[in-house]
Symmetry: D2
């Protein structure tokens, strides 16, 4: 290997996808929180990269143990609060750790309403969507984001697409009535002052999901872009704690199947759902007057 002069650039490390299940059994009627937690640290750990000196490497196994210990000592309450506790711990306990990214997915469970003896401690996984949360510490600031993914929605009418440029490579026919379907991934950033004041994160999550569904349903859509914007605007309108919302929305194509070849009409009744390729619309909606916070999004998936 020839000699070359290089330096270490941005880095972080930690433990990914810690599958934590927390049961609250203070009463016979149990509660469950089911999370997938990732903890990653940033700081002056260059020695580990440059020479294999691990004296400043809080082992990823130690980070994992901390997740489970904190689940006992702090409880989970909301993923946002749980991640803040982890972030606070690692950035104060180790003076060379000055930042990091803590992320969680949360899976929802519904109680099984059996009416029998098992109802108090039996659950069925909802599967409707996955909740997202992230806490970022960078540049001396702490940022909190919530989110949702895999919220799959479809409307069978009330969607048009026309008026786009016709180029040499354009073959798509215009339509005033199509199926529109997407699987919403969204992240919302909380205003720092709202974080400071204290937020009902679970309440925000529930309300934002409800608002997103309602707007998806009720906006008569001329473009998925328009629907995305209206959904983001509605989320921000619904909750003063939100600074901005970012979305990735695949356009999950449902093509009308050509039945005329068999002498059959198909007036918007029979579709083939296609897998790939798919449209992919990504965009953000920002509350007027709030300061940008690029650090909040550092190394988070850009729109997903």
């Amino acid at each position: 290997m020839s000699d070359v002069s290089v330096r270490l650039g941005p880095n972080k490390y930690g433990k990914a996808e810690v599958r934590l299940v927390r049961i609250t059994r203070d009463s016979p009627r149990h509660e469950i929180e089911d999370l997938c937690v990732t903890s990653q640290l940033r700081g002056d750990v260059d020695g580990s990269f440059l020479t294999g000196d691990n004296s400043r490497i809080v082992a990823t196994d130690t980070q994992k143990n901390t997740v489970f210990a904190f689940a006992k000592t702090h409880g989970v309450r909301s993923p946002e609060q749980f991640l803040q506790a982890l972030a606070g711990h690692f950035t104060t306990e180790f003076d060379w750790i000055d930042g990091g990214l803590w992320q969680a997915e949360q899976y929802a469970w519904d109680r099984i309403a059996s009416g029998g003896p098992g109802e108090d401690h039996s659950f069925v996984r909802s599967g409707r969507a996955t909740r997202l949360a992230a806490v970022q510490v960078s540049g001396g600031e702490t940022h909190v984001t919530g989110g949702v993914k895999d919220l799959t929605v479809l409307k069978s009418t009330g969607s048009e697409f026309w008026g786009y440029p016709k180029t040499e490579f354009t073959t798509l026919p215009e339509t005033t009535d199509r199926i529109m379907a997407t699987s919403v991934t969204g992240r919302w950033r909380y205003l720092p002052e709202a974080v400071e004041a204290g937020i009902d994160y679970n309440g925000v999550y529930d309300e934002v999901c409800r608002v997103l569904l309602d707007r998806f349903a009720d906006v008569h859509s001329l473009a998925l872009q328009q629907t995305l914007y209206e959904m983001g605007k509605a989320a921000i309108a619904a909750r003063p704690e939100l600074a901005e919302v970012r979305f990735a929305m695949p356009n999950k194509h449902h093509f009308i199947y050509d039945l005329a070849r068999f002498g059959l009409e198909n007036d918007g009744e029979v579709f083939i759902a296609d897998d790939r390729p798919y449209g992919l619309i990504e965009g953000s909606v920002i509350r007027d007057g709030v300061a940008d916070a690029p650090g909040a999004w550092l190394e988070l998936p850009s729109f997903v």
Copy 2:
């Protein structure tokens, strides 16, 4: 290649995973059926294998077209009825086709109760479980099965496991209180006379799912095997149309996390959910007095 004397054995062929979405828009309040359909034919098509003679090969593309055409002409109503229509078509239209296997998955959508203009035609995918159906034609008989997969359930107490043999390779401690979690895959065979008389397949599906959940919750479990058996028994008790039920139930391990190392108690509160390996319990429950029907299960996943 040296000379060798061989013959063609069992075979079938067709089109797999046809993603059919059927919208019923007879009124402003739309309905949606979302299926993944597989159609496979059996019969005297040896020429295709032996010499590439396709004169008896109903093209898989033709089978796909038929799925969409039948969605228009027959509607879907239930996946079991839709598959029966396909099965009847292929085995009567082509005299050399004497059997086949038609399968479907169905994905559930909930209406978005926006209260606004989009409510009538907007849906969110439920994600709780996937419905299964299969129609088998073999040996001159038609068999109908329904089912469910990915119905993920968990109970945080009410599950014990002890009394098993202690061998040289046994290290598992006995427990009288553990989390029990599984993802239920089940298939139920309908009695031929019930199929003949006509069945409310959608009603059966809903009721069986409800019964499975309730029994999972209410059985105080000494083994996942026992829970499986009680769930199967309850399903058969609930619906006279059912001849037998087959289940595959992974034991999705949730291990209590050892917090004593950190001076913390863990009284059934903090668990790590493990991915692999997992227990796998497969079993069937059969109504007394009904005839075996091995042909019904031909080339279906044995328990899953």
Copy 3:
């Protein structure tokens, strides 16, 4: 729940997807075997299902421990031999266990030919295909099968498809030149007398894979069915140890993209690879004169 009279039907249970990595370090030049093992037992364990009596339940955790202990005491050599050792152990050690199914996947690793100090103990995962093996004990007999999955192949010419029936639902144009692509899943059953005499399982696996590839390449194909049959015939011709071969071959469609709309020719150069739906051809080829062995295939995926 109303009273109902039911009985327990076929069942088995065990531990699935045990991820075993075995390093042989008898010399500085290490060897690696990387497996995913599933062990399932059958026998008189009805008490567990009926009453939760686990006195005959060899715990799935015990089965897992046995896999690792046997990796030490027996080594792996080939997955077929390793599974036979497990099968022999469980069916002789416990007199109420009279059968079972033991399965393995094996992942191939290539040595990294660095020419440096790490070459002897450094590997890169091949990823080309996954090896399959199964040992079945049922009805007092032991059956051994080998196999392969995810062997993905494509030929850019030398494949035709025409001469199929034209029905009211046929729209597919005939072709004398298309891409043919599939992902081969195959299982081969070993002749009991060959198992008895001892088999070089690794050698068979390598040779069968090579023969399958060569025949896929060299058969001018009129149908994927024909290619499947020729591949099976060649495998049986190549190795006298084989009794029969079963294949599942998806027809992974590559559609020629219509460039004429842009004034461009497309003479078999530009294709779109489609995901779903896909053709699915399943079939078996059997050596003349060998006895059927349905027990060998009991509860194995029928063709996959």
Copy 4:
């Protein structure tokens, strides 16, 4: 919905996962290029978000068609060159499109060396790794990156881990001999002047992959961080075209299985491969003296 004042933030849109297969058949010995292409545009398309005005929306379907047309007119040669052609087209053809992100995965195929008539046009998918490429146009500049993912490597010795801080939550024992395994995802940015001068992208890809493997093998590792850094340094040393390299490397844990419980020694021979959680090390190595290019990485996965 209450009134709220918001604005549109960063956005882009396009067609994702276009599955393009390009056959070069200028001679009987065919070549294959197999890609998954994503095209996304940025520019002044706010009208689409704000009012559903699509007059500046180059339809995602049009972008898809362009991919296939360019595969014919330009050929693929390398994914980096193909994406540059697309980027140039969209940012010059439409004056309101001033940027975008074009990405590709490429899947490798090996020729089937049958020695028979099919050898010239028959291929088997390699599966060892997936090639990555991206072209970014932002702020008037064009950036080109190459990469690889799912390059899975393991060394059975030559890896230590010790000297890390022992905290109240540390339970991991130190080790001077462990398995180290990871699945490398890496992206390298090409120097703008090298892009300008012309690069043998395929040659770079092959050489970087070879260098990464060799360094993984030959570095005696005290930490995965150290291995990552040495791999990045070696890649930059090997090819003057590279400005920087970014890696995400999961630490795929292989735990030694405790066989002492069964009276067996386990001297680094028998391991269980664990799925989750896993360590996750992300870092970058930068050639001294090159200017930062944050725009190159805009909205690309941060380390993966």
